[in-house]
Structure formats: C-alpha cells, structure tokens
C-alpha cells in the first residue's frame, strides 16, 4: 500500500539505545528510602512497626499458639460431620474433579495449568503435614497421580476438548448425587454436610445458577416490553434493598410458614436458593453495566445485517458485554464465596459454623485465634485463586485493549 512507504524502514533514523539505569543495592536504598531527612525518618518509623508486627506474628504462630485444635478437628473443618465410612464418596468427587483439571490443563495449558499445579501444591503440603492420617495421604497421592495422568492424556489428545467441557457441565449434578446418595448409595442427609465442603457447594451452586438468571434479568431490565421490564426492575430492586441475611432467614424460617407442612424443602437447598436469588440480582446490575457500555453502532450493525434479537444478543452484544464486566463479576463471586459464611447464623455448619462449634467445645477453650486464622487462610487461598483466574481471563480475552 502506497501510504506505508512513508514510514518504511528505509527512512528510519539510526537507533539509539535507551540509557541503562545503574543499579546497586546501596544505590537503590539511598534513592528510594533515604533520599531526604523526611524519608529517612519515615523509613525508620515504618521499618520499626513492620519489624514488631512480623516478629510478634511469627512468635505467636510458631511458639505461643496451639495448633492441636486444627489437627484434632481437621476432618470436621473440611467435610463437617459427613460419616467416616462414606467419606470415599467425597474422595471420588475430588478424583473426578482432578481428572477434569488434569485434562483441562493438558488441553488448554495456561491458566488452567497454573491453577492445577497450585492445587497439586496444596495436596502435597497436606500430605507432608505430620498429623494427616495414612488413608488421607493415600487418597491425595491417588489424586496427584490422576491429575498427572489426565494431563499427559490431555496434551496428546486434544479431541477430548468437548468431552472435558461436558464433564465440567455434569460435574455438579454428579457430585450432588454422589454426596447425598439418592437411592444408589446410603443416604447421607444434608444436615451432615458441612465444613469447607458445604461452603464450596453453596458458592458453586449460587455462582452457576445465578449466571443465566442474571443475564435474563439484565436483558429484561432493558426490554421494550413494560411488563418484563417492570418485573425485572422490581425483582432487582427488591433483592438489592434487603440484606442477604434477611433473605436467608426468610428462606429458613418464613418459607415453612408460607408453604405449610405439606412441602418439605431441605435446609441446604433453601440456603442455595437464597444465595442464587441474591447473587442474580447483583449480577444482573453488573451485566447491565456491560450492556450499556456497548456502543449503539454495534446494535445497529447487527440489526442492519438482518440478525434477529436472539442472534444479536448471543453473537454480538453479550460476548462483548460479559467480557467488559469480568472483573466486576469475579469481584461479586468472590464476595458471594465469602458471604456463604453467613449460613452459620441460620444454623448450617459451613467452614465458619464448624469453627464456631469447635470453639464452644470445652476441650478447645481459648483456641478461637487458631481456628479463625485457619478459616481465614482457607478463604484467602481460594479467593486468591479466583482473582488470579479472573486476571488471566481478562488478559487472554484482551479486555481494555480494544
């Protein structure tokens, strides 16, 4: 093309390398920490504060605290009161997930690979913990072996792509069936589900089911049809105007009053429904923000091509809108994941609920610091994995460099 001649290489002036910054440790310290009297004072003051904090924390974590409470209740914290003789079902679930994670990381590499390696790291750390019973170590080793095997299969055979995606889609129902039994195995009531297992289940269900609901509500709120629009607005504003804990109380205590004795709904299911309805309203507003960020020209171009409303939304508008709000959506999901700890208030024994029960046990008096720290650590690990996945997803989809 003729206009490219102007900036072709022939006319480029001689290149000059940018100046190299000179770096030495002492030079860096002087430039950044002790460049003036003011900075020197600030450095000393904050250095002292940080030193004291770190020293005391290390002192407490390694010498003063009594981690026996975690050791003794490790199983309770992770799976609640799920019966010991049925625990193999939980392990099977984990192995199935390991298969899928291994396959996915083999096929797609990248983010999935990082997350899977991170999970393996956690497994290895748990195996190395001194108090872990032999059986758990064996199961975890099996998991690691399964991940590695599936990874190798995934790298060689990319034809498993669709099978893997279907597998992820079926994962939740399979896990639920395995955990509760449903006539195939001995029934394990949800009153025995607990600990981190319950936290994870409620969060995953809320996230998965709120997503389609949120998309529909967001589109509904922009609909030209007044009935659909007002129903969407009414729903979103009602839910957003009520604290989550209220919704949980309504689901746990009021619903039986409304429905009478004829219909029995499981406590855990009620909590899941409550979380789903709550998340959907907030998600709808996030997605609506994304929809509004799409220029009118995109709608017009799609319409001018003769695409009907469904095609226009699925191919043109939603992919761009959802991509634009990934950070906000993941933020919401992380929030919901942490908010699951509220179910402890309505009597379910999630990770925090179990923690509180353990503290009130006379045998473990005065161990709340240890228990709460452990709970916080588990949440921290998983929330960070979620936000890491979100950052990688943003990069790979090119958000913000349109």
């Amino acid at each position: 093309m003729e206009h490219n001649v102007l900036n072709s290489n022939k006319h480029e002036p001689t290149k000059v390398a940018p100046p190299r910054p000179t770096t030495s440790v002492l030079g860096w310290l002087k430039a950044n920490l002790f460049s003036s009297w003011m900075n020197t004072i600030l450095t000393i003051v904050f250095g002292t504060i940080v030193f004291v904090l770190v020293k005391n924390s290390i002192d407490w974590i390694f010498f003063k605290s009594d981690w026996y409470v975690i050791v003794a209740n490790f199983k309770l914290l992770i799976v609640g009161q799920y019966p010991n003789e049925e625990l193999w079902r939980v392990w099977i679930c984990l192995i199935l997930i390991s298969v899928l994670m291994g396959l996915s990381s083999g096929i797609w590499k990248g983010t999935m690979g990082h997350l899977t390696s991170f999970m393996m790291g956690i497994y290895i750390i748990i195996i190395c913990l001194p108090f872990i019973i032999f059986e758990t170590r064996v199961w975890l080793l099996i998991n690691i072996a399964v991940i590695v095997a599936a990874f190798l299969i995934g790298t060689k055979q990319s034809k498993f792509k669709i099978a893997t995606l279907i597998g992820w889609g079926l994962m939740l129902p399979i896990v639920i069936v395995l955990l509760s039994g449903f006539g195939v195995f001995n029934h394990v009531g949800t009153n025995l589900w607990g600990g981190f297992l319950l936290t994870l289940l409620i969060a995953v269900v809320a996230i998965i089911f709120s997503f389609p609901l949120g998309v529909l509500l967001a589109i509904g709120r922009r609909s030209k049809l007044p009935i659909i629009r007002y129903i969407s607005i009414g729903y979103i504003e009602l839910i957003r105007g009520v604290p989550l804990i209220t919704i949980l109380f309504v689901a746990q205590l009021m619903l039986p009053l409304f429905l009478g004795d004829s219909i029995e709904i499981d406590n855990v299911v009620r909590a899941m429904v409550g979380f789903t309805l709550f998340t959907a309203a907030y998600l709808a507003e996030n997605i609506r923000g994304g929809l509004q960020s799409i220029p009118r020209g995109q709608f017009e171009a799609a319409e001018a091509l003769g695409l009907n409303a469904t095609f226009k939304m699925t191919f043109i508008i939603l992919p761009q809108a959802l991509r634009a709000v990934i950070p906000a959506m993941v933020g919401l999901f992380i929030g919901i994941f942490k908010d699951t700890s509220l179910v402890a208030i309505v009597g379910l024994t999630d990770l925090l609920g179990i923690g509180k029960n353990i503290i009130s046990n006379p045998a473990f008096l005065g161990t709340q610091m240890e228990v709460f720290l452990f709970v916080a650590l588990v949440f921290l690990i998983f929330c960070n994995m979620m936000s890491y996945a979100s950052r990688r997803l943003e990069n790979s989809l090119g958000v913000g460099k349109r």
Partner: protein, 256 residues
Amino acid sequence: MLENFNAEIPLEEREDIVICNNINKWFGNLHVLKDVSLSVKQGEVVVILGPSGSGKSTFIRTVNGLEEFQKGDITVDGIPLSNDVSDIEAIRKETGMVFQSFNLFPHMTILKNITLAPIWVRKWPKAKAEKNALELLERVGIPEQAHKYPGQLSGGQQQRVAIARALAMQPKIMLFDEPTSALDPEMIKEVLDVIKTLAGSGITMLVVTHEMNFAREVADRIVLFDFGEIIEMGTPSELFDNPKHERTKLFLSQIL
C-alpha cells in the same frame, strides 16, 4: 451480482425498488423529516447531499427501519415497512448498510464478521459463506487481512471490510451513511474507489456523502436535503451546473 434485473433496460423504464411516500419524522417536537418522497429505480445510484443536520442520514436510516417514522409509507423490494418485526427483518436481508463509524464487531476476526450473517440469517453452510467472504475481501482489495481483528486494521481497511460484510448478504440495495466522514484524508480514496466499482456493478445504491467530486462521478441522480426536506433533485450536471433553487446555489457555493 443481481440476477433479477436486466441492465440493458434504460433506467427510466426499470421498476422502482425503494418507494418512500411523504415520510414525516419528529424527534420530540423537532420535525426532522418533512414530507420526504423519493423513489429509487433498480440499479440506480442516488447520492444524497445537504448540510449537516439536514436530515439526510436520518432519512437513509428510515429505509431499513433503523429509525422509526411517524407518518408516510416506505416499500422496499415490494415489502411494506411496518412495525412488524418479520417485515423489518425481511427488508434488512435485502439491504446492506455501511456506517460512518464502520461498526465492525471488535471481538470477531474479519472473516467471522463477514460470514456471521450469511451463516445465521441466510443459513448458508460455513464453507460456502467463507468462500464468498474471501472473494469479497479480494474484491475490496484486502484478502490478506481475513484472520486479523478489526482493531488491527486501518480505518480505510475497516470500512472496506464493512462494505464486504454488507455485500456478503447479497443485498439488492446498499445504503451508505457518510462512509468516508470518519476517515483520514489519505484513506478516503481507497474506500471511494471500492464504492465506485460497486456502482458500476449494477447494484441499487443510496449514498449520503460530502464528497462532491465522487457524487458527480457516480450518481445517476443527486438529491439535495435541507431542513428535513428535499429541495431539489436531478442528474449531477443539472444540479451542479444549473441549480434552480436558491438554497441549492447557496449550498454549492459554500462547498465548492
């Protein structure tokens, strides 16, 4: 490209493909189109000129239903434009539109941009749609860009892709809404050249533009808009060399 009309027939004797009768449109209290009547023959190239804000873009957008109008009636390719979604979609299948700001889909490759509508609206098999798309890219002069994303292309290239995308539906009518107004000067020519070859191919075209030389060169008929009305229309030589209306003279004196 068009099988259903014979280019041998002189323009006057061909049938009307776009018929607009007394179109009236208001934005709130603002009367933006006043009794606009215009009929376009098959294969005719009509260029619409006029000062900005004169309603010419609004008019061209009413033809494929992107803008609603309150009074009057429009018939495109025998289909009356009504509020019925299926009518509007049927008309849009037969009309391609090129926008001032390209409006390519930024999350899809050039090839996907072009094949999307043929695959999902025309229900063509993917292979056929892709073959057609590559031919069209060849025609607009950028076959090597098929697998890039719109953001990687220059403005002129993007607008040529937009033209190819509109043509991929094999429309009978092409609407151009100021196709070069958003382009850098050195890219205007490459887009105008594509539109010129298209005008020679016998497709019906309505073009809103500010490019006077281009208008004179390609138009069968020029329509001048001002204050939401058609002030004057005629062949390029009638309008440029012997303008009858005072406002036409004023407009031309400001522009030429």
